[in-house]
Symmetry: C2
Subunit: 416 residues, 2 copies
């Protein structure tokens, strides 16, 4: 399995796409997208755990438990969040418009929205856009749809892969958007409780495959992929009202149907996880104002939860993130953040590494020669910060953006 | 009781002060301070709850339970944090040097440090500075001592007050430092467990009075004052390894001794709380790069803990703090932060106010006319953001700085 991200036509057998402009974005860019399978597909999804859930998320939560979807209708430029009953009515109407135009059961359609929170949705305009999108659906419309879901993204985020399942060639493609308000903590719909650790956009991501797979297999693959991918991505630490990841499998590849126990399941789950991690990393790299991606690895924690506390706290610490931006290997700030994370450990046992350069050994900062090598690491566009707490076997992984002057400038501009 | 903050000589009967330069600060500014009572005083203190505690904090934790102190020796320019056993030896030696020079039992002396984490302390240099400070002690040395505790502070923070207790005139004076790494979560030493809710510097603050008071009365006054003062102050959300607040009462005013049950206790506790709140507010106002102080009031939460979750999350949210900087009354970010705080509430019941301008009513953003008035509020240097969750009677209060371009610039400069 090889993931490709070249700018080339993306086709997934049995899926059609569209992206149009209806006027939500003043720039004239596409702001309505449509993803549609020719036949009903098995589906799994995860949505934000924010208590304030956008209207499209509420509709998705109603419809996903059945594990079947045929279309996703998305708008950018307005989050349809904190818009009350009117917003909920618009979210349902978006699906109904698609259902009517394409003769699909609206219960097999979910909406997604991204943009400003608290702004009423211009219902007639969106309906017009959706009808235009239905008319524009095409197997080659992937990139138009992708443009339609973007907001402050500096570049489009997508990937495709092919793999063999039971002798059949299967295609998997994914698209994602997200740059700010990125700290997804999504929970799986219909999956086992607690299967998805809390991690940390409006982040929207859609993964489409022609594989034949059961809904439980898709849920399991998503549950395995989320903690290491989107739930591990932290730009700013603000968890959106709209975060959504959907995985759809329409079965047209006619492989032996994937179930969680199938022999080919691990290979499929691995492909899903690898693609989600790749796209989540692109989201962090495109973080508003971000200049760096820092992989934070915590190991040796008393528990996995303690490891997550340490990794999350560092990934959210303004002082650590500003030091990353400045290329300053200031281990003191990292140690301080670990200290107030709430995790239980002996500061005298802590080891800290920047890539392969150890900067703290058994609780003491290593000074002198090492600083020049450590500073060379922190000037890289990507590096790994590893903490070993020597308190147990708990591990956690996060991908964090740095905190930059441009992030603040951008997000303090009136009504971004 | 009137709190004064004019730049004038500060005298507290029976206390002497000194501030000298020993070379920890390259600027040549004073970097060693000494506060000394002529007689042993009753004392209470609270220290950081960070698991990584600076060496002086560890010494303070050993000595405070006895409730008696005579002197505090402070250095700035080096936090003596994450410096291992050597650091602990230096912290003890600092006290021993004072004890030897002034013939005070070292067990009645505590050290404090602020500055960079993880840097070995230059022992001989500090000892020289401390001996010079002992020689320079004077009743009029308050401002020199205050200069000696400052690091990135843009202005000195202090206040004095006099009050009558049992017919006797009592003086109370306080000094504080702190501008970055400000999110104290301090716990009282020797007080009732859980008396001090977690709040959010290196923040050092010393309060001195000639009142006669028992150690339990001082602990009680500190426990009452902390949640609304230093533990409510959030600049960046990073909780320091060194946060320290000390309250000393040497009894020279010869008032009837204050106990927690004394008739005059409430007036004394009120004066302590008012002064601590005033100084904590100065710390937030002087937050690195900060241009605004936002008072965050959360009420109607299911529990006080839920209220604290909402207030803390907003006070730490990069998106909310950047919007405050930009003067953007973007209620959507505030609502989103409340939503992911972990508090239980019905988003459809939420009310949000900017000063007296309601911007969200029962879960719906109020649009139109109100925006201009709301924007006028958010352009103020100080304003109050109030959330009413309508879920119970839990309340919380925080004082937060905005997140500015200058904060990031300052904290990303190599080795600030």
């Amino acid at each position: 399995m090889k993931i490709r991200v070249q700018s080339q036509p993306v086709h997934v057998p049995g899926f059609r796409f569209a992206g149009v402009h209806c006027g939500l974005k003043q720039s004239g860019a596409r702001d309505v997208a449509l993803i549609c399978s020719d036949v009903p597909a098995a589906a799994a999804a995860a949505f934000t755990t924010n208590r304030v859930k956008a209207a499209p998320v509420l509709v998705g939560l109603e419809r996903l438990p059945k594990g079947r979807l045929q279309a996703i209708v998305i708008n950018s430029g307005n989050a349809n969040a904190y818009t009350g009953d009117d917003g909920l009515a618009v979210a349902r109407a978006m699906c109904a418009t698609v259902g009517h135009a394409l003769r699909i059961d609206p219960e097999l359609i979910i909406p997604s929205s991204t943009g400003r929170i608290g702004v009423p949705m211009p219902r007639a305009r969106i309906a017009r856009g959706i009808r235009a999108a239905c008319a524009a659906l095409s197997p080659g419309g992937f990139h138009e749809a992708l443009e339609g879901i973007m907001t402050t993204d500096a570049f489009p985020k997508y990937a495709t892969a092919t793999l063999a399942i039971g002798g059949q060639r299967v295609t998997l493609a994914g698209m994602a958007k997200g740059a700010g308000m990125i700290a997804p903590r999504m929970a799986l719909v219909g999956g086992p409780k607690g299967a998805v650790p809390a991690g940390h956009a409006t982040m929207l991501a859609y993964f489409l495959t022609d594989a034949a797979a059961s809904a439980p297999a898709l849920r399991r693959a998503l549950a395995l992929a989320l903690p290491q991918s989107f739930n591990a991505a932290i730009v700013d630490g603000d968890t959106s009202t709209n975060d959504t990841v959907v995985l759809m499998a329409n079965g047209l590849a006619q492989n032996p149907r994937l179930t969680p126990g199938a022999r080919a399941f691990p290979a499929f789950a691995h492909a899903v996880a690898a693609m989600m991690t790749r796209l989540a990393r692109m989201v962090v790299k495109d973080g508003e104002g971000a200049t760096k991606v820092i992989d934070i690895v915590v190991r040796g924690a008393r528990t996995a939860r303690d490891a997550a506390r340490v990794a999350d706290t560092i990934a959210r610490s303004p002082l650590c993130k500003a030091a990353f931006f400045g290329g300053d290997p200031y281990a003191g700030r990292v140690v301080c953040a670990a200290g107030y994370s709430g995790a239980t450990f002996d500061p005298g046992q802590l080891d800290v590494y920047l890539d392969d350069v150890q900067v703290v050994r058994r609780g003491r900062e290593i000074v002198g020669q090492v600083e020049r090598r450590a500073a060379a690491v922190t000037r890289r566009a990507e590096f790994t910060l590893t903490l070993d707490l020597h308190a147990g076997h708990g591990e956690a992984f996060r991908m964090a953006a740095d905190l930059t002057v441009d992030y603040v400038r951008f997000n303090s501009a009136y009504r971004t």
